[in-house]
């Protein structure tokens, strides 16, 4: 062993019985995919690591990586909270997950297309008509449509978590306007800037082809296949919390960032953008606006963000929209519980990545189980995102649980419940030490005439001790995600 002038970095709050750590085994030795990283970190020592963290914070400010926080005092750009210790995973494990993600999105797209057309899955008794009837995101006006390639959800953010026994589960499928991919890309840029040595010496798979893959996925939706398509990113505007990402992706794809007021649908049902040399036709709209606000003619008439006539243009086949209007029907926590059957039904395969075991409150027996075990379960409403409106049983008060029980009884279709998982952790810098913090993983999956999944994805980490909430809107941060080729077969 070399003589060291630096102190190797100290772990605190380890081991944690019953909880799987992504980087460290039960004996607190690094797992194979994390070995190079740990050698390196220990060689650097605590002092140097703290210095690099300060450098990374400065770089985040300088690169202007921000998200917007709404407040009374006006909207402010807040720096993106980032932990410099990456989350690692072996390529062998990732390859299986990659296959599972593609399998899942393929099945979900077949499912959405079926729901808006023949509804075989309902007639065959696999998917209950009453769940469909209660779906807030089923868009009647999309009935009879088959978008190009039969694909509705072109961009999917799939949230994965790992339980205490090491099993990776799908926690939810985000099929409406999933965000976060720009942070995945920026996290890698930051790490390369800060630790260039590491990327030379270890087999970390690259992530940066996402913008090109996204562009190709979108371009394939163009109704005018002979020309270079005009692709736009439709943003609600600068006050949206993900505006940074909208601008970032437009820039990286060489697409045009537009707001609703920049677009107009003419009598020929084509979509045009207003330019300094007049109207110019738009072929594909990557919309980052919810269905509700997309087209005041078709959905909410009070929407100031959308484009009147956009649905008309889409139905006439004059423009591609990603994700297609109505794709959100499969982004529903109750529909989620049926995904294993959906995969089986359309693909005749078993799911490669399992669902978290779930109880459906619309079923009387399962509902009784949920009501009797509220102190042990997590209860989620069907159509909320960002961690809003859910009950974390073990942490809730008696009063909160009673209120929630009433909510469930009043509208059972709207709720499902899951056991509280022992969500995995990874070492995260706290002061000059490393402490375990809970995390999840959101890979992004693309489908049009191709299928693609990011290599890894966005790792979100709950920076507060013991917290399970990883959403950036609620105090979460993120880490770079390394898929490491350890040479295992």
């Amino acid at each position: 062993m070399n003589a060291r002038t630096t102190q190797s970095i100290e772990l605190i709050d380890y081991p944690q019985p019953g909880i799987y750590d992504e980087l460290l085994g039960d004996d607190l030795r690094p797992r194979p995919a994390a070995r190079t990283l740990f050698d390196y970190v220990n060689r650097l020592g605590a002092e140097e690591l703290v210095a690099r963290r300060e450098a990374v914070d400065a770089a985040i400010m300088a690169m202007g990586i921000t998200f917007t926080v709404y407040s009374e005092a006006g909207n402010i750009d807040r720096a993106w909270p980032f932990d410099i210790i990456p989350r690692t995973m072996s390529k062998r494990e990732w390859d299986r997950i990659d296959a599972g993600l593609k399998q899942r999105l393929t099945a979900l797209n077949l499912f959405i297309d079926d729901l808006y057309n023949a509804q075989h899955i309902v007639r065959d008794g696999i998917f209950p008509a009453e769940v469909l009837a209660g779906s807030k995101n089923f868009r009647e006006c999309c009935r009879g449509m088959t978008p190009r390639f039969g694909v509705w959800a072109h961009v999917c953010g799939t949230d994965l978590v790992r339980d205490g026994d090491g099993t990776v589960y799908v926690l939810e499928d985000n099929l409406r306007v999933p965000s976060g991919v720009s942070y995945m890309l920026e996290n890698r840029q930051l790490m390369k800037r800060l630790f260039p040595e590491l990327f030379k010496s270890s087999d970390i798979l690259p992530v940066d082809d996402y913008p090109i893959q996204l562009y190709d996925t979108l371009a394939a939706l163009s109704p005018r296949q002979d020309d270079r398509p005009v692709v736009v990113v439709l943003t609600p505007g600068i006050y949206n919390s993900a505006y940074f990402e909208h601008s970032y992706l437009a820039q990286k794809m060489g697409a045009i960032l537009v707001e609703g007021s920049d677009l107009v649908v003419n009598g020929d049902d084509c979509v045009y953008m207003k330019t300094i040399s007049g109207l110019r036709r738009v072929d594909v709209v990557y919309r980052r606006i919810d269905d509700d606000f997309l087209d005041p003619e078709a959905f909410r008439p009070d929407s100031m963000l959308g484009v009147p006539g956009l649905m008309r243009a889409w139905k006439a086949g004059k423009v591609g929209i990603a994700n297609a209007p109505g794709a959100g029907v499969a982004d529903d926590k109750v529909v989620y519980t049926f995904v294993p059957q959906i995969i089986k039904y359309y693909l005749d395969q078993d799911p490669i990545i399992p669902n978290v075991p779930s109880w459906l409150c619309m079923d009387a027996t399962q509902r009784d189980h949920v009501l009797a075990n509220l102190d042990k379960l997590v209860v989620k409403p069907a159509n909320e995102s960002g961690g809003y409106g859910m009950l974390i049983g073990p942490r809730a008060s008696e009063e909160e649980r009673r209120k929630f029980a009433d909510l469930i009884r009043a509208n059972p279709r709207n709720y499902m419940a899951q056991p509280t998982l022992a969500i995995s952790t990874a070492p995260t810098m706290v002061g000059d030490q490393l402490a375990p913090r809970h995390l999840d993983l959101r890979p992004f999956v693309l489908q049009s005439n191709r299928l693609y999944a990011t290599t890894g994805g966005l790792t979100r980490v709950a920076l507060r001790q013991g917290s399970l909430v990883v959403n950036s809107s609620q105090g979460g941060g993120s880490k770079d995600t390394w898929i490491v080729d350890t040479g295992e077969e």
């Binding site: 300088a62 690169m63 202007g64 505007g237 600068i238 601008s247 970032y248 437009a250 820039q251 045009i256 960032l257 537009v258 707001e259 007021s261 920049d262 107009v264 953008m273 207003k274 330019t275 300094i276 040399s277 007049g278 109207l279």
Partner: protein, 320 residues
């Protein structure tokens, strides 16, 4: 390029230029005042008049004294023409068009805004600190132009910022020159000549033009020579003529520019036709008003040609 983006870029150029030139205008006025003999009269309210803001000011301030006027022009967020409002507007416009600009631009504009927000109050303490703050605003703004010059492709986005900058600059140069028409010279001829010379030196200094004037015109500072230089010199970058040439250059790279170019040439011909020899203050003032009207007419055509679609569909109606 999207009409909305073009319009925002144009206003980024205008607002930043306006902030810098308002700082120059205040500095020039302060200088003129310091150099005046005791028996020459001069009113601070001229600043409000030349800035075209008398109505806004009168509504909210009872007295046109130095303190009120300085507050109104530097830190009053309810005055759309104040330095802080101009920088704030430039910042909000920059925010929406970040993807067509060099990455550092947003940071620079943002830090200029943070600077004036934090230091604006210091400018109200006295003339010394005020001078420091205004110089800092001018300096930071110059570094922003430097950044654009040094690291932005000469694409359409660049042309719209440059167009806005030169439109505003030409307009503000006429206003800074106009400050002189408010100086009432003393009866004594020798003293009047001296006073007039000092006032015009202040104007040249405010536009960072004194050395170039000396190099290219001469050491004697006479009113018609300075007016001739600041309006018609083709080489100094803050003169009306130079700005018109820059505007023409920008327009020539844009599509469908025939109408706007016609308007520029009209302004150009009128400028050439102005006889500045032996002119009096009231005539100069009239001339300057005419130049401002011509620049306004160019703006109207530009807005109709390039921002029109965007405005029409938003129902925001007439050009500003």
């Amino acid at each position: 390029m999207l009409s909305r983006v073009a319009e925002n870029l144009y206003w980024v150029g205008r607002y930043l230029e306006r902030a810098e030139n308002t700082a120059r205008l205040i500095n020039s006025t302060t200088q003129v005042l310091l150099d005046l003999p005791v028996n020459a009269s001069f009113g601070w309210d001229v600043l409000i008049k030349v800035a075209g803001l008398d109505a806004e000011f009168g509504e909210r301030y009872p007295q046109a004294d130095e303190d009120s006027i300085i507050r109104f022009l530097i830190v009053d967020e309810d005055n759309p023409g104040s330095i802080i409002s101009s920088i704030h507007n430039a910042r909000e416009n920059t925010r929406t068009v970040r993807e067509v600009l060099p990455m550092e631009l947003w940071e620079r504009v943002n830090s200029l805004y943070l600077y004036i927000r934090e230091n604006g109050a210091r400018a109200l303490i006295g003339r010394g600190p005020r001078d420091d703050v205004l110089r800092a605003v001018i300096g930071q703004r110059e570094s922003i132009v430097g950044l654009l010059t040094g690291s932005m492709s000469r694409d359409v986005a660049y042309q719209f910022i440059k167009l806005g900058r030169n439109m505003e600059r030409a307009d503000m140069t006429t206003r800074i020159v106009d400050v002189n028409s408010a100086v009432h010279l003393p009866a004594d001829t020798a003293l009047a000549a001296l006073t007039s010379e000092r006032a015009w030196i202040s104007t040249l200094n405010a536009l960072s033009a004194y050395q170039m004037y000396r190099n290219h015109v001469g050491v004697h500072v006479r009113s018609h020579d300075v007016a001739e230089f600041l309006l018609k010199d083709p080489h100094f970058p803050r003169t009306v003529k130079h700005c018109l040439a820059e505007i023409e250059g920008c327009l020539s790279t844009l599509p469908e520019h025939v109408d706007a170019m016609k308007q520029v040439r009209k302004a150009w011909r009128r400028l050439d036709g102005m006889n500045l020899e032996g002119l009096t203050s009231p005539v100069l003032h009239e001339y300057l008003d005419q130049v401002q009207a011509d620049i306004g007419a160019i703006h109207a055509v530009v807005a109709r040609q390039y921002f029109h679609l965007h405005q029409r569909h938003n129902g925001s109606g007439e050009d500003q």
